[in-house]
Symmetry: C2
């Protein structure tokens, strides 16, 4: 019966990361592979209090079907947060609550993309976005990013040649590289997109997890008419609730709500109420500060071990926050070969390969998450990786 499958599902890239994570999640493995936040700081007690309060005060309502748009109070809170944190005036009516920002990608694909439409993704880019969009069979153009952001000459070329419907970006502490677009890069990027029929998506799951450096402009403030914002509670409260949102202009929000309704009627309403209650009774700023400090110290530990053990020919992309470091091995040293060596010694990470689309592959990059392992494990794991790299380098010279 396999011939019944749609063409679109046959075109989705297999998630290589999925198979890696199956190995990496075994308990005796030092894993830098996951994209998970640290469970150490989940606000378990506060959420338990919020659950009890919601059920006691509004049980019937919190357990009933709810609106596709999402809880009004939560949408107002999100709008308020954009104002207080980023000086952005956003109407709650332009916010749709989704199952994590991942679902916003799916809904955007659904309402915007016809087969063959051009879109731009980052190179390397977030695999979940590549997967979500690929189900709508667009033509994907990847534009390289470096420590400064998107390579604007590449972007300009694609904009001119292909008139993409959307440009997907993670400008703060990007997944997989951890880098942020510079202020200048953002401003210049916007001038290229301004006035075209191209939408700019700012996906921002890590934006609040800044350890150093200055906050940069949100694309919404630079290009309000053409920007779509995605946000999420996954990295700052809990990912298990699958609570995110999309901010979109009037002409787009209604089709998104229709697509949301067709997809699953609405996002888990009980969880929306719990999160709103949690936000009423607790300081999210203090909580985010706690997470940022915790992650910053782990990042520092990993950087120190890298400096201590790794050959100088391995470079690390600059990062001021988030969860990831992006390493480039000397050309000719395969990250896949390194993975095969390291996993034998129970250390895991994600090779860069799955973050590039098509034949467009680079084989000497890799992503390390620093947030879920403790500092002893970080030191030990980095030492193992360094030994493996040195061994591969030695073999290469000999060969």
């Amino acid at each position: 019966m396999k011939q019944l499958l749609s063409k679109r599902i046959q075109e989705v890239p297999e998630s290589f990361i999925r198979s890696i994570l199956k190995v990496a999640n075994q308990p005796d493995v030092i894993s830098f592979a996951g994209g998970l936040p640290s469970a150490e700081l989940f606000p378990i007690d506060a959420l338990e209090k919020a659950c009890a309060k919601v059920l006691k005060n509004n049980g019937k309502q919190a357990l009933q079907y709810a609106s596709s748009e999402g809880d009004d109070q939560l949408r107002r809170w999100i709008a308020g947060r954009y104002l207080s944190q980023q000086s952005l005036t956003i109407s709650p009516n332009n916010i749709l609550i989704t199952n994590g920002s991942q679902q916003a990608l799916d809904l955007l694909g659904k309402v915007l993309l016809d087969k063959g439409d051009s879109i731009v993704i980052e190179r390397p880019g977030y695999l979940g976005a590549i997967q979500a969009f690929s189900l709508y069979q667009p033509t994907m153009h990847s534009v390289s990013i470096n420590n400064q952001g998107m390579i604007l000459s590449e972007l300009e070329h694609v904009l001119t040649k292909h008139q993409p419907k959307l440009v997907y970006t993670v400008p703060n502490f990007q997944n997989p590289t951890g880098v942020s677009y510079s202020q200048q890069n953002r401003e210049q990027l916007v001038t290229l997109v301004l006035g075209s029929k191209t939408l700019l998506i700012q996906d921002d799951p890590y934006g609040e997890l800044r350890f150093s450096g200055q906050k940069k402009s949100n694309f919404m403030s630079l290009l309000p008419e053409q920007t779509i914002l995605l946000g999420s509670f996954s990295k700052v409260i809990t990912p298990s609730f699958r609570l995110g949102w999309v901010v979109a202009p009037d002409w787009l929000i209604k089709p998104l709500v229709i697509a949301k309704q067709a997809a699953d009627l609405h996002t888990n309403y009980f969880s929306q109420r719990i999160i709103f209650q949690y936000l009423q009774d607790n300081s999210i700023d203090l909580h985010i500060e706690k997470i940022s400090q915790f992650y910053a110290s782990k990042k520092a530990a990993m950087m120190q071990s890298i400096k201590q053990y790794f050959p100088a020919s391995v470079t690390v992309a600059e990062s001021e926050g988030g969860m990831f470091l992006w390493l480039t091995l000397p050309v000719g040293v395969s990250a896949m070969a390194l993975f095969d060596q390291a996993i034998k010694q129970k250390v895991a990470f994600v090779p860069g390969k799955p973050f590039y689309i098509g034949d467009d592959e680079v084989d000497n990059t890799l992503r390390l998450s620093y947030v879920t392992m403790d500092e002893v494990a970080i030191n030990k794991g980095i030492k193992v990786l360094a030994d493996c790299i040195n061994q591969i380098l030695a073999n290469t010279k000999r060969g």
Copy 2:
């Protein structure tokens, strides 16, 4: 920028029900319009206990990212339930947890349907299924149902002429009509589909809410190789959690999991754990029995009022459970006209029109939900409808 919208989203029928519900949900309206379960019986206290237990015993895990397939324990519970209730042997590996069974429809559309593929839906049929599938731009063929189930001659014609990829059915207490397919109808239907390249979807949100009559065979027992089952906790525990599932054969479950991952990574894991805990600590059978008795008494009250007030020319479809009654007005009496009259007197229902696709419209049918109003309101509301019908009939005769 509206020209950026995809063709598929432009083809989705507007949810007329949505606009009706906005009117119907006003507090002074007697509403028979909703598709909501009664909030009176939500197990609020038991769910609060389950929340506390999950967070106390497994907080870190329950708040972390989880697998796309869904919680293993919950999937085993569902498999066990199919065995105990319907004598069906189903592997937990063939079960995918979804955001209500609504999301299963979206995922099935995504992995099975290319533009122009033929599918069969019931006439009248569940609007949410029509919406979900329509986003994948199939050619929809509707096959009429009556008190016995699908009209098999119509089905046979469509099967032969169009080789549809799937036939979507709600064989127990269907939405909108409340009718169930007879045992004979199921057996004959299956012989038509057997051996073809057509899948049979049994959507079963109301199946456990039987008030009278005999349980009928699940299509999975009659046609195991070609049947897909959908299920949901929405009508038996709470809809707000958006917890449902799909049972699919091996060749289909993996693509569904890939589509699920691309859509939203996984279903709210905290809620999966709460429901599993609730099911461990409470008797779902007793709870379902309570709901069924409660709904049965409301149905009886509505039937009695209908007999008392309605002209004999209004017919009611036979129903042995679920949430809805389906009425046919005398030909020439428009349910839309009735709606316009009734809403002025603060009584709401859903006219049948949105449940038929295309030009295929019938204007003299309507759906009444009996589960959310109390018996006094039911009596009062039905009397208002009867008065409106009699008035329209009188005007028609005069005209």
